[in-house]
């Protein structure tokens, strides 16, 4: 099942400008440490890895652990050199594997 992913980055940037990329995922980040209503531990269900590539070149990656808050938020910087597509891939428990894209225009 796909999760909701928001990729926020400025619509346009000047060449050489450093822009901020912000990712917001809709995900419970169930830790695997927490007992549920029946007293048994709720199995872990987390996003494990996020990778971002710009025009095929990897620009950022993150390994997430259960200490990341529910609905993970992650921001990183990116130097805008040319127009292109930022592709974000997300992997996690329960077969989560998803890819989302956003376009950056450099003027």
């Amino acid at each position: 099942m796909n999760i909701r992913v928001l990729i926020r980055l400025p619509a346009t940037a000047r060449p050489g400008e450093v822009v901020e990329v912000r990712l917001l995922l809709q995900h419970p980040m169930e830790t695997g440490f927490r007992p549920g209503a029946d007293g048994r531990t709720v199995p872990r269900n987390t996003v494990r890895r996020i990778e971002a590539s710009f025009e095929g070149e990897r620009v950022f990656a993150a390994d997430l652990f259960p200490a990341i808050a529910a609905n993970p938020y992650l921001a990183f910087a990116l130097r805008a050199t040319r127009s292109g597509t930022l592709a974000v891939s997300i992997e996690g428990d329960n077969g989560l594997a998803q890819r989302e894209t956003a376009v950056l225009t450099v003027t």
Binding site: G39, E57, V59, D63, A67, A69, F76, A77
Partner: protein, 156 residues
């Protein structure tokens, strides 16, 4: 009572106060030593390499109300060029059920060595941010954080 007669009686007390003040500064507890588990997690990240304080700034509130979502930023003093850049940024806790929080992989394409996220904190504790530079050096910043409402580990 006039001021002149009061002076000899007051001064020793004032000195005692000064001494107490100086002691409270000197005896203020330093950052707690990392737990064995946290040290092991850091050692896995650094591969046992020495870690120096500096270059890294962990931006996190000293007092947070809600441990379920604690905003933080990690900024590293680096030009982020091909010759001199940050390769990895990691965050560790000491008293969460698992010390690892996040490991980020960066490079010159980022232009700026800065990340932001939101973490969980099970209780008041020290949070450590580590950065690995491309020259192989490791840098660190530790911040003690007081949590009012801990992240929920109980049922419900």
């Amino acid at each position: 009572m006039s001021a002149s007669t009061a002076t000899p009686a007051v001064q020793p007390r004032r000195r005692a106060l000064l001494l107490a003040g100086a002691c409270s500064v000197l005896l203020r507890p330093a950052l707690a030593a990392p737990t064995a588990e946290a040290q092991a997690a850091v050692a896995r990240f650094t591969g046992g390499q020495p870690v120096r304080d500096g270059r890294v700034v962990l931006g996190i509130d000293a007092v947070v109300e809600n441990g379920n979502t604690v905003p933080l930023t990690v900024t590293v003093d680096s030009p982020m060029t091909a010759a001199d850049h940050v390769q990895r940024i990691a965050v560790f806790t000491e008293l969460n059920p698992q010390p690892d929080v996040l490991v980020c992989h960066l490079g010159p394409a980022n232009g700026r060595a800065q990340i932001a996220t939101r973490m969980r904190m099970a209780q008041s504790q020290t949070v450590t941010a580590l950065a690995q530079l491309n020259d192989g050096s490791f840098w660190r910043h530790r911040v003690e954080v007081v949590v009012a409402l801990a992240a929920c580990l109980e049922g419900g």
